[in-house]
């Protein structure tokens, strides 16, 4: 067991974890942060995407011990003071989700994408979300949601 201390969604937490424990398992099983989900075991689907020190990572691809001392933001910590993040708002507004299982990862990745490129083209959005799978929406409305969140004009 290894002792780790980190900040998750603004709260300081500290636990003994097995070295092999994945960050996503730590979030879900130890902290009850079940908003972040597991969709595959090959890091293809991106459903588990969170921010580690402000950058998106697939939390199935990070060991909990690697997050020691870091600041982690999950979908549960994105809204501030009861106000939805603009990307969350845009996903609802544009019907960018159906079953909602990929949504936490898709939103966290979209936030990261817009942090790096505030006015992306459609192609840049599509490439930026390539690591996140969705089976419901056909991506059409997800792309629109990201365009909307970026403040750009959207054609239906």
């Amino acid at each position: 067991m290894t002792r780790i201390s980190l900040t998750v969604d603004g709260s300081s937490v500290s636990d003994d974890v097995e070295p092999r424990m994945l960050l996503v398992q730590y979030l879900r099983e130890r902290l009850g942060k079940t908003g972040t989900v597991i969709g595959c075991d090959t890091s293809n689907c991106g459903a588990c995407t969170v921010h580690l020190d402000g950058t998106s990572v697939k939390s199935c691809n990070v060991l909990a011990v690697q997050a020691d001392g870091a600041e982690v933001t999950t979908i549960e910590g994105l809204a501030q003071n009861g106000e939805l993040h603009p990307v969350q708002e845009a996903f609802r507004e544009c019907h960018g989700l159906q079953c909602g299982f990929c949504t936490p990862g898709m939103i966290m990745q979209s936030v990261d994408l817009l942090n790096n490129n505030p006015k992306p083209t459609e192609e840049e959005i599509r490439l930026g979300l390539e690591g996140n799978l969705c089976r419901c929406t056909g991506y059409h409305n997800i792309v629109k949601a990201v365009q909307t969140a970026s403040g750009q004009e959207v054609h239906s």
Binding site: C45, L84, L97, Q98, G100, E122, R126
Partner: protein, 831 residues
């Protein structure tokens, strides 16, 4: 006391037709979700499954001693540890009386019939410990030869279940001559061979995997008086029934909950070994247990879809007027007959004739057992296969006659003034307007300009050629009426149940038996009830997916929720109004005959007196002042059984660019105009269409479940099973035309499967159209660059792609489920 907004009728905007944002989204976008895997109960134990690595083998011994001794392992159990309480996995649709159906134990003790079948289960305090210990279970097998290739299995070369003596499960036949719905197809074909056109093709429907994003998960809590199962399922009511029917627990002692469910697409329309094993282990140990599959387990052992060979013969006159259609299918059931099983191809049996006026039709399907994962419903279930075949054939016919593929369709389709139309398959299409949808789609697509560009590129000999694909589809949805399902030997009905509860504060609770998993029932059903009762959208709460709350229902599949479940809701709401009416008359001191109900208010004709339905609910709650002998309730329920299926249709146009040097394909434009009757929520409809399109496009271009020659699924992870990403797809142009359905009050038609059903042939037709001038008339799906290149550069349809499909193996072919090129021939006019 009433807090409901009063909404005078003149101020009310109709809810139906509004693009309401979804009620479901707030919790889904903030991570406040209730996926089954999120559920933790005091003392919960975790399960891990030990699965067979062999496709077909006898189990000779199972040694669990090392696993049992591992840290925090509570128990390790195999099939022989259980008796009848383990239950059985049922097939609810024996398609013929003599169907050969292998017994299906959730955990067989003696023999495994596909790679991934469960042979033992480990119970431990954590999921990681359970999985670690599963590695320590020693299972000895004697390998048996596996039946893998569909055609060879149909010839009984190797038996999937030796004790059954055959792989042939059932032969199901429809013949229009015998049914009296049309002529004799052999006569039509014989005539066409002498003076018309005969198109003969063999198409492959590759094996697909539904690949819902949420892996399946099940929690069983046996500690209450009712045993509770949470499951990531589309069908909580059917799971409850099947548990009762097969495990000896009375139905009244079973509660099944489908909490938030992360997609299904038919893939969660199943009763699963994992559910049954969790149920048995929980009962045995008296402790709550949880099992969540890995993605690899999901791809390997959750049911697959499609997997057919389609032998097709279309006859026509020289001018392209169709005279007959003969369809002979081989359908791969996999190792067992799943809950719908052979019923999937039968659902397509009535749809091959599609929108066209075939005078003669013959359909047969031979279902076949193999040693691969079992197959069952996947979005469209039977109808994509039918639509693919006929829409490909109609384009072939057009090429043969030498006319535009839209022209050949128009020549043969049912004209809008001919509805209602009884088809050669015996169905009555109630409404539709193929001309209108096609005209709109052509205009949006810029059809004539793209045809001109195609010609320019062809004339110039461009390396990148343009193809235009067409699909003028229809489908049957709703999976009802019950009477017809009974005639087809389906094990259940097709009705749906709803109830409306008028709360004391004027709020409304709606309970539906349809169990959503992403479709937006909570929003769309709220809109329906808000309109019907004249209450605010926000005041309606839709409850579903828990058999303790929604005690009666048939769940969600087959594009049935709105057209069947929505109609049940309408009927229940109308009963509420009827029950409220005499009470309103009493309270308003008026005659019932003088009351009108509109905009949520009962008014006395010719006066300004009135009362909102919420106020009546409050008065009924108090029950102080009701008419004599009146039950103090205006709650109501209804169970609705439709009179007919439901027939959405549409015109889909696809432009594909094909690089003739590399075989690479690229989608340039996709337009669809779907007629789904009246639309309740256009935003939700658009989402259903977009998602459906991509699943159908993915069959055409990317997805394929591939087995190697020992029966191992080599596309068993998301590295190998190619789900499209945002970078692979484009934005779509979708629109609608509207001819209301005449078989339900709301005039709606199903939309859940339409995009998937329509898009696959549109895409393949476009790819073939781009290279037809190079001598290509078929490319097998998925149309990988390798297949396209091979089709351009050699005979056949691109054939097997085992090299590309099996990057992990140095040699050996993908003999498992592939891949002879389909046979084809054409006789007649230009041949």
């Amino acid at each position: 006391m009433t807090v409901t907004d009063e909404r005078p009728s003149d101020a009310i905007e109709k809810e139906i037709g509004r693009d309401r944002r979804r009620k479901e989204d707030q919790r889904l976008i903030t991570g406040r979700t209730r996926w089954t895997d999120n559920i933790v109960l005091p003392g919960i134990l975790h399960l891990a499954m030990v699965r067979s690595p062999f496709a077909h083998a006898t189990i000779t011994s199972i040694d669990v001693s090392a696993a049992k001794a591992a840290t925090n392992v509570v128990d390790v159990l195999s099939g022989s540890d259980f008796g009848a309480e383990l239950g059985a996995i049922i097939n609810a649709w024996p398609i013929t009386p003599d169907q050969v159906t292998p017994a299906h134990s959730p955990m067989p003790a003696d023999r495994v019939a596909f790679a991934g079948e469960i042979v033992a289960v480990v119970v431990a305090r954590t999921a990681a410990e359970a999985r670690d210990a599963a590695e320590l279970v020693e299972v000895e097998y004697d390998e048996l030869p596996p039946a893998l290739d569909l055609k060879k299995s149909a010839a009984d070369e190797v038996l999937a279940h030796p004790d059954l003596g055959t792989n042939k499960s059932a032969l199901w036949v429809f013949d229009s001559g015998e049914a009296g719905t049309g002529g004799n197809v052999e006569d039509a074909i014989a005539k066409a061979r002498t003076d018309g056109i005969v198109i003969e093709r063999e198409y492959r429907q590759q094996r697909l995997i539904p690949a819902f994003m949420e892996p399946r998960s099940v929690v069983v809590d046996p500690t209450g008086e009712q045993y509770t199962m949470w499951s990531a399922t589309q069908i909580p009511h059917i799971v409850r029934f099947a548990l009762a029917a097969t495990t000896g627990v009375p139905e009244s002692k079973i509660r099944v909950i489908a909490p938030d469910v992360g997609g299904g697409f038919g893939g969660k329309l199943q009763v699963t070994p994992e559910e049954w094993i969790a149920w048995a282990v929980g009962r045995r140990l008296g402790k709550p247990v949880k099992y969540t599959e890995t993605r690899s387990e999901s791809l390997m052992s959750a049911h697959h879809g499609r997997d057919q060979w389609q032998k097709l013969t279309l006859s026509a006159e020289k001018d392209g007027t169709v005279t007959g259609l003969k369809v002979e299918l081989l359908a791969d059931l996999g190792a067992y007959v799943a809950i719908v099983g052979g019923g999937v191809p039968v659902l397509g049996a009535f749809m091959f004739n599609a929108i066209y006026k075939f005078p003669a039709y013959h359909f047969s399907v031979q279902t076949v057992l193999t040693n691969k994962a079992w197959t069952d419903a996947y979005r469209g279930a039977g109808r994509p296969e039918a639509t693919y075949a006929i829409e490909r054939l109609m384009s072939e016919l057009a090429a043969e006659v030498g006319v535009d593929p839209l022209e050949i369709r128009e020549k043969n389709w049912i004209k809008h003034e001919e509805f209602p139309f009884t088809t050669v398959a015996g169905l009555e299409y109630d409404s539709g307007n193929y001309e209108a949808a096609t005209a709109k789609a052509k205009e949006m697509f810029g059809y004539d300009e793209l045809r001109a560009e195609q010609k320019r590129r062809r004339d110039a000999g461009d390396t990148v050629q343009l193809g235009i694909g067409i699909s003028t589809f229809t489908e049957m949805c709703g999976l009802a009426p019950s009477r017809v399902l009974g005639q087809l030997d389906y094990g259940a009905g097709g009705w749906e149940h709803a109830s409306v509860r008028m709360l004391a504060t004027g709020k409304v609770e709606v309970v539906t038996g349809a169990s959503a998993h992403g479709q937006g029932h909570e929003t769309a059903f709220s809109q329906i009830v808000a309109d019907r009762l004249g209450v605010a959208f926000e005041d309606v709460e839709v409850l579903h997916g828990d058999t303790q709350i929604s005690h009666k229902g048939l769940d969600t599949y087959g594009s049935r929720s709105l057209v069947v479940g929505g109609e049940a809701l309408v009927k229940a709401a109308d009963k509420v109004v009827e029950k409220a009416k005499p009470i309103a008359a009493h309270l308003l001191e008026a005659s019932v005959d003088d009351l009108e109900f509109s905009g949520g208010r009962f008014t006395v004709r010719g006066t300004d007196q009135g009362m909102a339905i919420g106020e009546i609910a409050t008065a009924v709650f108090a029950a102080h002042n009701l008419p004599d002998n009146t039950e103090p309730s205006i709650d109501a329920e209804a169970t609705y059984d439709p009179v007919n299926f439901n027939y959405p249709h549409g015109t889909h146009l696809c432009a594909m660019e094909v690089d003739t040097e590399t075989g690479a394909v690229k989608m340039r434009k996709y337009v669809c105009v779907d007629d789904i009757g009246n639309i309740v929520n256009p935003l939700i409809v658009s989402g259903q269409v977009h998602g459906g399109l991509v699943q159908g496009i993915a069959q055409a271009l990317w997805e394929e479940a591939v087995y190697d020659d020992s029966g191992t699924l080599v596309s068993g992870s998301f590295v190998d099973y190619l789900l499209p990403t945002a970078a692979d797809t484009i934005s779509f142009d979708i629109e609608h035309t509207t001819t209301p359905s005449l078989t339900n009050t709301l005039g709606t038609k199903g939309v859940g499967e339409a995009g998937t059903i329509a898009s696959t042939p549109a895409v393949v037709n476009a790819v073939v159209d781009a290279v037809r001038h190079l001598g290509v008339n078929d490319i097998q799906m998925p149309c990988t660059p390798e297949r396209v290149w091979k089709a351009i550069n050699g005979p056949g349809s691109g054939g097997a792609t085992e090299g590309a499909a099996m990057p992990h193996f140095e040699s050996g072919g993908a003999a498992g489920n592939q891949e002879q090129p389909g046979q084809s021939s054409t006789e007649g006019a230009g041949a």
